[in-house]
Symmetry: C2
Subunit: 242 residues, 2 copies
Amino acid sequence: MSQAWHEELQADVRSGARVGDRDIADKVRRAVLMQRLPPGTKLPEVTLGEVFGVSRSVVRKALTRLASEHVVDQRPNQVARVRAPSIEETRETFAARRLVEGEVVALLAGRLSAETLDALRLQANEETEAHRRGDEPARIEHSLNLHHLLAEHSPNRVLGGMLTDLVLRTSIVVALYKRSGLSSCYQEAQHERLVELLAAGEADAARGAIHDHLLGLEALLDLSPRESRIDLKSILGQSPAT
Amino acid sequence: MSQAWHEELQADVRSGARVGDRDIADKVRRAVLMQRLPPGTKLPEVTLGEVFGVSRSVVRKALTRLASEHVVDQRPNQVARVRAPSIEETRETFAARRLVEGEVVALLAGRLSAETLDALRLQANEETEAHRRGDEPARIEHSLNLHHLLAEHSPNRVLGGMLTDLVLRTSIVVALYKRSGLSSCYQEAQHERLVELLAAGEADAARGAIHDHLLGLEALLDLSPRESRIDLKSILGQSPAT
DNA sequence: GGGGCATTTTCTGTATACAATGCCGGTATG
DNA sequence: CATACCGGCATTGTATACAGAAAATGCCCC
């Protein structure tokens, strides 16, 4: 017990500001995204409560929220654990996201305000920049921001909400299944191209661009069905770094 | 206070079986679907707790669950209320469902086992039968079952989960916006045709059938932007039947 | 009679205590 | 040696108490 992630999560918990379930969920989600909390990590309610200085009630709500986002597994009478999406689920998540995000960008093409387009360009450029200087966390951040912006501005808010969920889920599995040798999943200028297609109102081309972008991303992963380092870990119930 | 819905929900709550959050959510969801609980109805935690004989903790979990299903609105420091989807959201929900369910049936075509096909046919026939004898609740039940089966058997489980959510949401808005004169939203033999297309493996035709089916359903609703009997109610915060 | 303010009431947010359950060890036994 | 059983421990499930926010009520003044 008492691993590193306590301090990781704690961050700036003190300093007055009362922490709510939203804050806890954010911190944990972020930690999962950053691979600070590997799949299978146990998240006991009291422990989290102590870390954040709140009682189980709040932690519970946070965990429930994360469970509905498919970030953690919450089984009755068992400790909540960081979820380990299977290879099959990973493929399905990508397929779903291609469908949904494709439709969203098609709807979005030609309907974006100048400000929104600028915001998108900003994120794309910042991503490229971060990649150039090798700052991978920042790169991921900006990439996520960009897709998040797309979801938020979806004319169809229902699809937008679904896309938000799918972006998160794919990000998690990308972090999980990234080929070990690979430093980054950056794909040269694809986001920039997408944004310009959106600006130009090329709906079908934009859908195609997203489609290819996501296929390319999936191809960068190691989804060979080798004997599950992941499943083993979660089945054996090992807590990491012990 | 103390309206009819107390007894509606209570049903067979006594008789030993310990009631959990799942049960409560099921009962409330059903009641919303059946229009027993009109949009805007307040659902205070203590009241529900008394009705079901459990404490607020359990009720809370049930409400959170329903909120994540978009059945109720849960705002901080305010009473949870039955959600009133806007006309715009209704259109968007239908559009999203056309996209997702279209894809699901296309994936499903030709891949269904004989047993599943029989189960689908059964629901389709029961629906027609129920319509014939004017039993609308039963008709809705079987229609829902059919679409639920489609979602459950989706080869892509991620899309399947999204479809489950969308089916529920569309059902709610159908109940809400059904043209008042209309006794039923049954569309002659469309489900039967769909099932046979699935059996025959006609992916594109099946997608088209679902598409048309859903367009037809949406067309049966009254989505004219008239001065919102619904929005007024929820804005004025009226509890019904008072 | 109507609008604004204070009070009261209702309801949710959080913490905590106790019950119930699952997990993990030791131990005995075939 | 493998396996089944059993008891203690860790952790979640549920109920409840108290604090704080919002809404409903009533009152006063205009």
